[in-house]
C-alpha cells in the first residue's frame, strides 16, 4: 500500500479513477449480496415448510436420488475423460483419417443438444430392435451414462487437444532429438504437460456434467430433479424440495472443484515461470505479471 500513497502524492489522476472503480464495484457487490440475502431470508422464513423439509420420507427419497446421481457421475466422468483422451489424441494424430473422424465426432456432439442425444439413445436406439427384442429392460440409466459420456467426451477431447497445443513445440523436438519415437515423446513428455494445461478446463466440464444429470429427469431416471417434480406436484410446495435440490447439487459440484484444485496443486511441479497470469486487483500499482514477458 506504500506504493499507492506515493503515486497518489505525485498527482495520479488515473489512480484516482482506479480507486473510484474499485469503490463502485464494492458497492455493487455489497448491494447484490444484501438484495439476494434478503430475498433468500424472506423465502426461507415464509415459503419453506420445515417439517416437510426434515421429514424422513423426503430425506430418504432425495438421498436415493443423490446416490444414484453420484454413481452416474462417477462412471460417466471416468468414461468421458478416458474417451476425451482418445479424442484429443485423435485430433492431433498425424493420420488424416483419424484426425477428421475425431473432428467430426467433436462437431456432432458439441453441435447438438445433450437432450437430443439422450432422446436418440433412450427412445431411438431401442427401436432398432424388433419389439420385445431389445436386451435391456431398464434402459434409462445405461442410456444416461452413454449419453453423458459421448457428450462430455467431446468437450474433454477439445480440452486435451488445447492442452497439447499449449505445450511448446520445443518439448517434442527435444524429446525426439534424444531418439524417442513420437508416441514415446507424447507419453513421456507432452501428455503429462498437456494434462496439467487441460486440467482446469476438464474440471470445468466435469462440473457441467454433474449439472447435466438434471436433464436425465426427462428420460425417466429417478434423479434429483425427478424427486423434486414428484414432491412439488404432490405437495404443491416448490420451495421446500428446491432447498434440497440446491444443497445436493452444490454438495457434488463443490467437492468436485475441491478435487480439481487438489489435482492442480499436485501437478504443479514448482515452476514459477509458468504461473498462469493471475490478475491482481485494480488497485495494485505495479503488476508482478510484468516479469513474464
Amino acid at each position: 500500500m506504500a506504493t499507492q500513497t506515493e503515486s497518489e502524492s505525485s498527482g495520479g489522476g488515473v489512480l484516482m479513477r482506479d480507486r473510484l472503480v474499485k469503490r463502485v464495484g464494492e458497492v455493487a457487490a455489497g448491494g447484490f449480496v444484501l438484495a439476494i440475502g434478503g430475498l433468500l431470508a424472506w423465502i426461507l422464513s415464509t415459503q419453506v415448510d420445515y417439517s416437510l423439509l426434515a421429514s424422513p420420507l423426503i430425506a430418504r427419497r432425495f438421498a436415493e436420488a443423490f446416490f444414484l446421481v453420484i454413481q452416474i457421475v462417477v462412471i460417466s466422468s471416468l468414461l468421458s475423460v478416458s474417451l476425451g483422451v482418445l479424442v484429443g489424441l485423435g485430433r492431433i494424430s498425424t493420420s488424416n483419417v483419424t484426425g477428421r473422424i475425431a473432428k467430426g465426432y467433436v462437431e456432432f456432439f458439441r453441435g447438438t443438444p445433450l437432450l437430443f442425444q439422450l432422446f436418440v439413445i433412450y427412445f431411438g436406439v431401442p427401436r432398432l430392435w424388433a419389439t420385445g427384442e431389445f436386451p435391456f429392460t431398464d434402459w434409462a440409466i445405461p442410456a444416461a451414462i452413454i449419453g453423458l459420456t459421448l457428450n462430455h467426451g467431446a468437450y474433454v477431447g477439445e480440452a486435451i487437444r488445447g492442452g497439447i497445443d499449449a505445450v511448446p513445440n520445443g518439448q517434442m523436438e527435444a524429446a525426439r532429438s534424444l531418439g524417442m519415437s513420437r508416441v514415446m515423446a507424447l507419453r513421456q513428455v507432452v501428455l503429462p504437460q498437456a494434462w496439467r494445461n487441460a486440467l482446469a478446463a476438464i474440471g470445468n466440464d466435469q462440473i457441467i456434467l454433474v449439472k447435466d444429470t438434471s436433464l436425465l429427469t426427462v428420460i425417466a431416471v429417478p434423479e434429483i430433479m425427478s424427486v423434486f417434480r414428484n414432491i412439488n406436484s404432490n405437495q404443491l410446495d416448490p420451495w421446500t424440495p428446491l432447498v434440497w435440490v440446491c444443497v445436493l447439487y452444490l454438495a457434488i459440484t463443490m467437492s468436485m472443484s475441491q478435487l480439481v484444485n487438489g489435482l492442480e496443486r499436485r501437478s504443479d511441479w514448482g515452476s514459477d515461470s509458468r504461473m498462469f497470469g493471475r490478475l491482481s486487483g485494480l488497485g495494485s500499482g505495479d503488476d508482478d505479471g510484468g516479469e513474464e514477458a
Binding site: G170, A174, S177, L178, G179, M180, V189, P192, W269, S273
Partner: protein, 242 residues
C-alpha cells in the same frame, strides 16, 4: 576411421518455395570443434537441424561415420547426435536428474538405478550435482542449459550440436555454459556449434565455417580466419563485429 565423422554433402534445403540452404558442404572430423557463424537468417541453425533430421533436406546428403543420415532410422540416428537448443527445452514436469535419465531409461532401456547413477555423474560434470532434485522452473537459465547439455550427453552421442545455446541467457550466465562446452572440447568431443560469441568461437573452435544467405562463404582454420579472413564476406562480417 578414414573419412570425416560428419559430412554435409551438397545439402539443399527449402521451406516451401524459399530455399534456405544451397549446396552446403561441411566436414567435421572426429574430435574436431567446428563453429558455424554468420549473420541472422544465413541458415546456420537450419543446417544443424538438418543433421538430426528435425528438418528434412531436399538435395544432397548428410553422413554420420559414412552412413547416410537420411536413409537410417531417424530414432536410431538421433541417439548418436546430441542436440542442445537455444531455448533449453527441458522437461518442466521432471527434475534435473529425471530430465537427464529419461532417454537412457526409455530409449536405451537402461535399468532405472543405472540411468540415475549415470545422470548423477553427468550433473556433477556440469557442476549441478546439488540441483539434481530441482525442477527446471527453479533453475536459472544457465543452470537449465547445463542440464540440457547433460541430458544430451546422457545418450553418449558421437557428435554434439549446439544451436545458439547462449543466445537466450543473461550475459552473466553465458560464462558457466561456455565453460562446460570448453570442458567437452578438451575431452575430445566432436562438436558443431552455431554461435554469436566470437570470442568463444575463437577460443574453442578448430575451424570456422562462415555462412551467408544459405551458402558457405568461408571455411578455414580458426586462427587464420580471425587474423586474416580470405574472403571479402569474411572481412565484412568481422569488421562489423570488431
Amino acid at each position: 576411421m578414414t573419412g570425416p565423422l560428419v559430412e554435409f554433402d551438397g545439402v539443399d534445403k527449402s521451406f516451401g518455395d524459399t530455399q534456405v540452404l544451397y549446396d552446403v558442404d561441411v566436414d567435421v572430423d572426429e574430435g574436431e570443434v567446428v563453429v558455424v557463424i554468420g549473420p541472422s537468417g544465413s541458415g546456420k541453425s537450419t543446417l544443424l537441424r538438418c543433421a538430426n533430421r528435425l528438418e528434412e533436406i531436399q538435395g544432397g546428403d548428410i553422413r554420420l561415420d559414412g552412413r547416410s543420415v537420411i536413409e537410417t532410422d531417424v530414432n536410431e540416428i538421433r541417439q548418436q547426435i546430441g542436440m542442445v537448443f537455444q531455448s533449453f527445452n527441458l522437461f518442466p514436469h521432471k527434475t534435473a536428474l529425471e530430465n537427464v535419465a529419461l532417454a537412457p531409461e526409455k530409449v536405451k532401456g537402461e535399468p532405472e538405478g543405472e540411468a540415475k547413477r549415470a545422470a548423477s555423474d553427468l550433473l556433477d560434470q556440469v557442476g549441478l550435482a546439488d540441483q539434481a532434485e530441482s525442477h527446471p522452473g527453479a533453475l536459472s537459465g544457465g543452470q537449465q542449459q547445463r542440464v540440457a547439455i547433460a541430458r544430451a550427453l546422457a545418450m553418449e552421442p558421437r557428435v554434439m550440436l549446439f544451436d545458439e545455446v547462449t543466445s537466450a541467457l543473461d550475459p552473466e550466465l553465458v560464462g558457466e555454459v561456455l565453460d562446460v562446452i570448453e570442458g567437452l572440447a578438451a575431452d575430445g568431443m566432436t562438436m558443431v556449434l552455431v554461435t554469436h560469441e566470437m570470442g568463444f568461437a575463437r577460443e574453442v573452435g578448430d575451424r570456422i565455417v562462415l555462412m551467408a544467405d544459405g551458402r558457405v562463404v568461408e571455411r578455414t582454420e580458426t586462427r587464420s580466419f580471425f587474423d586474416e579472413p580470405s574472403t571479402d564476406r569474411g572481412q565484412q562480417f568481422l569488421s562489423r563485429l570488431l
